[in-house]
Symmetry: D2
Subunit: 344 residues, 4 copies
């Protein structure tokens, strides 16, 4: 059994990691830390884990060594204690934003302050298997992914990989997202009475996850527009681009199917009938799938590409476990078999 621990286990990402790792057939969870819930049973914070574990939240300053250490702290912490953490584990997977960007300049530009451990940026692999499967398999340090970045990256991947769009032309990604992205801290705007029923475009452009899309896909003129809607789990990216002259439906089908064939968690959704004709996040809750689809306006080359994910799974903890599987030489899908629910 591979031993694992989680630093920062009381947040939503940490809770989802715990759910996955506690039922993972090749893993034994040693510790989960939380300063605010120190000494409480994990199931008192994550009630779905009642009768599944008797682990209590432990002190982050009192960690045993393990095979794999997951960091699920708020952004900005891991870069300050990475040196102390490295001796504790063979492999580290950091779900925060601290080691996603390869360039310290980019980090400063998008996060507004200098990176505290710039030398570590190049040691981490960006942890999206659909882009870096081979590197992840051989890596000791893997970063997590931004949920909105992942929905955007996977919406655009077929177009970029098959060379169907011009990388320097403007791309607009409209992202609609649920409240679990805001985390357990919240603010007045996260109160149910204010957050219910919203359609709130809280960021027109400039969202930090944009940097991950530029870095990973090589796009230069891209904006992510963020709109909060009434949903807890799930994010849909609707990307607008223009295909190169001559690109038609068949080219798109081929490109999308290729990505779905190469990646066990990617599915193409483009049906002519029924209720579920397009990618939709609600049925993905708890699953690690990324559903992608597209539509092409042949009159002007406007392509609309969609990707739906569960932000806590494929957008965070699920992808992190997928990376762990690769790093351990396990089948990529181990412990990630849950199909999602219909209806929900």
């Amino acid at each position: 059994m591979t031993t694992v621990s989680i630093i920062g286990g009381s947040g939503y990402g940490g809770g989802e990691l715990l759910r996955l790792l506690l039922s993972h057939p090749n893993v034994e969870v040693k510790q989960a830390t939380s300063r605010s819930h120190l000494g409480e049973y994990v199931y008192q914070v994550h009630p779905n884990l009642r009768k599944r574990t008797q682990i209590k939240f432990s002190d982050p300053f009192n960690l045993e060594t393990v095979d794999v250490l997951f960091l699920a702290q708020p952004h900005g912490q891991a870069q300050h204690n990475i040196e102390q953490l490295v001796p504790l584990a063979d492999k580290i997977i950091d779900l925060s934003a601290d080691f996603r960007l390869r360039s310290a300049e980019d980090y400063q530009k998008w996060y507004g302050e200098p990176h505290a451990a710039p030398g570590w940026l190049e040691k981490f692999v960006y942890g999206l298997p659909e882009l870096h499967r081979g590197e992840i398999a051989g890596a000791r340090y893997v970063s997590g992914v931004g949920c909105n970045a992942t929905a955007s990256n996977l919406a655009l991947l077929p177009l970029v990989k098959a060379g169907l769009i011009d990388l320097s032309a403007p791309v607009i990604v409209e992202i609609k997202l649920g409240s679990s992205e805001s985390g357990v801290e919240g603010n007045t705007g996260s109160l149910h009475a204010e957050r219910a029923n919203v359609i709130r475009t809280f960021s027109a452009f400039g969202h930090r996850h944009t940097a991950e899309v530029m870095q990973e896909l090589g796009l230069t003129d891209i904006s992510l527009t963020m709109t909060a809607v009434d949903l807890v789990r799930g994010v849909l990216a609707t990307a607008h681009a223009r295909v190169k002259p001559g690109v038609g439906q068949k080219d798109l089908w081929k490109a999308y199917r290729a990505v779905a064939t190469e990646n066990p968690f990617v599915r193409v959704v483009k049906e002519q009938r029924g209720i579920y004709r397009v990618p939709e996040p609600k049925i993905l809750s708890g699953s690690n799938y990324a559903d992608i689809g597209f539509d092409l306006d042949e009159s002007n080359g406007h392509v609309v590409s969609m990707c739906a994910i569960d932000n806590l799974m494929k957008g965070a903890a699920g992808t992190a476990v997928q990376c762990m599987n690769l790093m351990l030489g396990l089948d990529e899908t181990t412990g990630l078999e849950f199909a999602g629910l219909h209806p929900l």
Copy 2:
């Protein structure tokens, strides 16, 4: 024009009062206070009031005299400064819980601490026109009503008034309620990600509003069970009682219709077809109606009586304005004409 001011205008009850009073034909709003939003435009906190008023939140310690002063502070404050407030206005309507109970002993029992101004308890009239219309019309000091208490009181009023149930027999009121009852402060459990989709029976019995039902209807064995559901505005009380022997459908129809006839904001909802056969709070948002209905199991005398209201309107600000109208000799419904929305 009658001049009015509101102390505590940034909460949900205060906001609803502002909405009503700013469009009331006989009223001029002089001030609305808020310490946390001092100096901000009212519409920055209550965005529905944009382009309706240029009033800014003022300092509660700097109040002009007015004809009617509304107190919409958190519970426990008005009893500490009632003496200072009285000189500021001819009439005072307090929406908080401070002056709802007539007995200082009851207050201490249900609120867990002695009342700070017990001598003032008897000076206030309980502000539910359906029970105290005449007294309110002649009163200088009127208390607000608890929203859950109001739904319970109006669900049971026809049964009690017509003497159809035994007042000492057990009555169970199951209350389902929306998130606006929690107010603007909130806590972790009020975050959208935790509060969405809930069916959470957070109080099996012992809710403070029970005291208002016992006091107003004379019931002695009654419990209010509180269940939070996914809704922002609205509360439904489903009351279970046993009718006296011999009481049948016709007696109930007569009793319910009588209450609806005597009270402009009470409606009987008991349809045989269509979607809306029973009282339902969603269509009452923004309106001051209380919809009541019933069902009788003739095999055992089990009567189920329902009352749906908007907790911020008939359960708080709407009833307060209704009281003001009575106190000013205006038509009871002035400024409370909004019909509610369908669908919503």
Copy 3:
């Protein structure tokens, strides 16, 4: 008193019209028709109107003459019976899509079949006061507006009116909308269990309302992408365009404020703090306001312009009543004073 009747009163648009007209100070409602609910009380279908009217749904083939006739039938009907309806009223306001487009060719292109009364197209004025106030005031025949078209038109109006964008450059409008747009008929996909929690991009481009935006604003390369989200009432349009070189924040502020100043129901929402910094439809339920806002990426001229409305009010019945007011020489806002609710 102006006499009015409504053909098609049992749908959501018809119900909203009834709510508005029954409380309109200058209007007397004579008839509301419904074949499926013939003989039922209006309040049995629209439960918010209980205790507000004793009108029953009447037969559409048995209409008295009135001053103003509102047509709220499903699309495709009015064009077949316009000749028979004209003698019944001095003025006609049709809420359906039948007379919104000025060109029979456009109608056939977007609606897929030839128009049945092409000669009548030029007799109708497009009923958006913010674009055609003067013409509406003098018109006998006024068409309604598409709800998504209205959100798009008002999002783009300040940019087009002030000449800040190039009309031939691509414009992408991302529209998020609630379930009341689907009407009372619905289908399996409209069931609560399927429609709840959705983020469903059901139309990437080609939506019929696009034609109204092209016609009214003169844009030639514009797409409307439609995404259903979990909400009953409300639509938000988020429009993406590129400003002309040299256009800056100040030009935008000036253009948006000008539109808000000229139009009583348009408000600019662009706050630096608080929860409600941008246009948001939830607080507009039942109100006739259109809230607009913008953000400009000065690095590349990407402007994001937003407009939030209640699709049944400013997007349908509210604007129709606003048109009626203009046609009758009344103040434009008469009977449309409801402020909307916070929270909701």
Copy 4:
């Protein structure tokens, strides 16, 4: 591998069965039938099963023999074709209401028409393992359970089993439930625009599931009051009873813990802090747990007992698979390990 087929696979219960059986380690799914979706891929109706199965819906009149046959048809069908189905399988598990009651008289009383195969009623075991584990293990024919009946039965089981309440005294069960109970057929009241935001007490008493509670627990004066709330999956039963004189908190704790210890899917939830202090259905979506809890008013013996379940899992398909496991001699929890999600 045990071979299984499902008759009626396109409904919500059938879909949930498919999800569970397709990933069950001891089972091979041979056929799933649907007349309305004949020839369609299962994943076109249940989109969560995309990339999980290539099975298409087959004709119910063209069935192969299997080890276990699940019937997931609408109520009233299985009793008409049970004779034809029996030869097709060693074991039959019927999720419909047709064989839940042991008495044909009771069936006629509650379902309003005579049972078509009364002789078969005694051959079926009521399929709730928490009540009939041993009998189920040896049975050939097992009925499913009503979801509301299951929530009620498990809420009351500790009280009845430990003899803490008088079986002839009145018991009131207030049930709050989600929209997936209405099934895929729906009606106008099931449209999202009508069903969203509801608190609709659509049945005050007389619900058919009451018969299952009377039969299984021996209660004689019990009512189930049904209230629809805004949720897709989940049901909460809040039961009100009076304990026998002298019964205290300790007796209740002992009784509840005993039931949880004996049953792998029952958990006691009664916390003093945190958000999740009581049973709540939202975190149970997709899981087979039944969470129970209680509160006792020692002043009058009023006990409030709660049970939360996922109506499609513990209330239908999950319990059916649990029964299958018992009938096959497998561990009861096989294939039912999903923990549920937090947040959701």
